[in-house]
């Protein structure tokens, strides 16, 4: 079935297309009384091309991981839709759903937590294959070794018999990446893949992801806090704020000509840090991030925005404007 699908895919159409996606978490009291919803993802739309590498950035709690999980089918979206290769993901079931799960790999933030501590590397990498019905042991072994080589952990049997706690953080994350690759996915979603790693291995892992992405021409969506390195690993950037995408553009375009006041504040914060050579990353613009339970009316950034226009920004939701070519920003400043 998956081969039919691959054949049917037109290489020009986007691989993933997300429209008005919403993921709300219901808050309940005493287990049943609804008291509100956390709007972790609230009206997100974008397209990802085949073989494209994109980064999602934004401060903590803006809904990046929720978006990733919704794309992975781990959360059922409250509204909107995700299409993958032309299929509505919400409608997939049974074998089709399994095909989708095999097509999207997942790399998590905490490599140690992402590996079952009671399984050795061979078992960990065999699990997805077993789940997807690869019953032939030799075939599994072959694919496991190939994935390990791809993440530069092979060759050699030693690693296969190791347990996660015997590996370094970098090796653990390589195993996680190998596990995401072993089913030969079309897309990989990496949620802050290096933020828990030692600074010395971060670049290695990012380079590895980038290399695998271009060799396999995978679609790579990675989530990061770190705007300073993003230019080396992504083609496009999505800036998220309070459950929404507020700005999107090619990497260089966005970093050099940030349009949205939030992005400008983010980049200014990085500049500050670089200048002061400070260790603590102050990547949050002044002010509190908004409550996702009761988001502010109008533009969600307006309480913190230096350019907020009373009567406009605090009343009406800004749509997406295109202040520059192929550069979208959700800010009333760019209304034409």
């Amino acid at each position: 079935m998956s081969t039919e699908r691959a054949a049917s895919a037109e290489s020009t159409s986007p691989l993933v297309s997300v429209r008005d996606l919403r993921t709300w978490f219901e808050l309940r009291q005493w287990g049943f009384l609804r008291v509100g919803s956390v709007r972790a993802v609230d009206g997100v739309s974008f397209d990802l091309g085949r073989g494209e590498s994109v980064a999602f950035v934004g401060e903590s709690g803006c809904g990046k991981s929720s978006l990733a999980r919704t794309l992975l089918g781990l959360h059922r979206p409250t509204g909107g839709e995700v299409s993958f290769d032309g299929y509505r993901v919400q409608d997939l079931a049974g074998r089709d759903l399994q095909w989708y799960r095999a097509s999207v790999g997942y790399v998590q933030q905490d490599p140690y937590g992402a590996l079952p501590p009671f399984m050795d590397v061979r078992r960990i990498l065999a699990e997805p294959l077993v789940v997807h019905g690869v019953t032939d042991r030799a075939e599994r072994e072959r694919r496991i070794r190939r994935a390990l080589e791809e993440v530069r952990l092979g060759p050699g049997d030693a690693i296969l018999d190791q347990f996660p706690h015997m590996l370094s953080g970098g090796q653990q994350q390589r195993v996680v990446i190998a596990r995401a690759l072993v089913l030969e996915p079309a897309m990989i979603i990496a949620d802050e893949p290096v933020s828990m790693l030692d600074a010395s291995v971060r670049v290695e892992i990012l380079n590895l992801l980038r290399r695998i992405q271009s060799e396999r021409s995978l679609t790579l969506a990675f989530i990061t806090h770190d705007l300073s390195t993003v230019r080396h690993y992504a083609d496009r950037i999505f800036v998220m704020y309070a459950g929404r995408i507020v700005e999107q553009a090619q990497v260089d375009e966005l970093l050099e000509h940030p349009q949205h006041p939030y992005t400008q504040a983010l980049l200014a914060a990085i500049a500050d840090v670089d200048a002061a050579n400070a260790r603590r990353v102050r990547d949050v613009p002044a002010g509190e991030p908004p409550s996702l339970l009761h988001p502010p009316p109008g533009c969600r950034f307006h309480p913190r925005c230096p350019h907020a226009m009373a009567g406009t920004c605090d009343v009406r939701d800004p749509g997406m404007f295109e202040p520059r070519r192929d550069h979208l920003s959700a800010c009333w400043l760019h209304e034409r």
């Binding site: 287990g31 999980r69 992975l72 089918g73 781990l74 759903l97 399994q98 799960r101 095999a102 999207v104 790999g105 997942y106 998590q108 933030q109 905490d110 937590g113 992402a114 590996l115 079952p116 501590p117 009671f118 050795d120 699990e127 997805p128 789940v131 997807h132 347990f163 996680v176 596990r179 089913l183």
Partner: protein, 443 residues
Amino acid sequence: MRRWLEGLRELRRYPSAIGGLALIVFLIAVSVYTVIAIPYSQALELWRGGEAWRMHPVNAGPVWVDRLLGGDKPDTTVVRSEDAETRSAAFDGGRQVRIPLSFDYPHDDFPSEINLFLETRDTEREAFVRLRWQTPDGDIIPLGGRRVAREDRISISQNQTLEGRLGMPPHVGLFARSTDAGQPVPDNGRYRLIIDAILFGEDASLEADLVVYGRVHGIAGTDHQRRDLMVALLWGTPVALAFGLLAAVGTTVTTLVIAATGVWFGGLVDATIQRLTEVNIILPVLPVLVMVGTLYSTNIWLMLGVVIALGIFSAGIKMYRAMLLPIRQAPYIEAARAYGAGNARIILRYMIPRILPVLIPTFVTLIPTYVFLEASLAVLGLGDPVLPTWGKVLNDAQTQSALYNGFYYWVIAPALLLMLTGLGFAMFGFALDRVFNPRLRTQ
């Protein structure tokens, strides 16, 4: 795998682990020996009692205890006519036979009973026997005569007229030194029972076995039905181990799976499991088991099923739930969901194995509680009616007032085995707990 090996290597540092393991290995060895030496069907057959035990004394204590205490109580003597010098003379239509059954009696206590088992073959009519008893001094005491059936038993010690004549029970009177006054003392030497029989039939023959029952028997002694307690003590071992192990496995596995299912699905499933557990915890186990036992105590495997069924929603669920809740959130489970692992796989392969090492000590210490439970039910008379078990022995001892009658061995042996089982598993379990739950590790 390597983790387990390391754990096992570390176990050697704990004397209690070695001691406990030694006890467990001993019990397992006994079980294996028993199952091979006395097959199941044979054990049931033996324990049913009856003719198989007719040459065993009633309520005899263990030989070694008596000897250890410096006693010289008699053990059982059997004299067979095959070994005796039988003389026979034919007459018209039959034969006259004289069988002298002689034996040495060196003990300083009286036997507990005397029986003569007779078997006649090829007779046309019932044979007639006359018995005489010859003491070491040469005195002859006539024991009377009677007709005998094809297979017959003459209970010499039950002979009322003889008792009246001797002034004391025959098994005392026949051995007492005639001159002594006061407390009778047995006379040592060679005794002889002379059987004079008249058999009707050309080829008629007679076989006679004289059994002078002792007061001690074997390693474990005998019970009120002459059964060798060894049979029950031996067979009780595999039964106890199997019951304890199966019940522990059964309850642990079902409890674990149910707890993990509740944690994984959450919501209504979890709430239902929790409420059922709470109700089940309040229900007292023993009375319920007693009730069930009275209704269905037909065999041990049914009891096992009931025990497991009652254990499904046991307090363990609460403990497992607390351990599994944080694991539910583990990123590796999210990853498994992302690559398409199903609910059953996540519960069985990702959640439960995570807490298994912590559960092993609990599991090991759980085994003896079920052994005790089975024994308690048997003591209450709710055990398997045909299977020889430790609890059954205790139950018999209780109904026969063993302690009141001074048959301590009858209670001590099964109780000791039960205690050893509990001790072995407890010692091993505590050591395992130290190794697998490093929080408890003492430096």
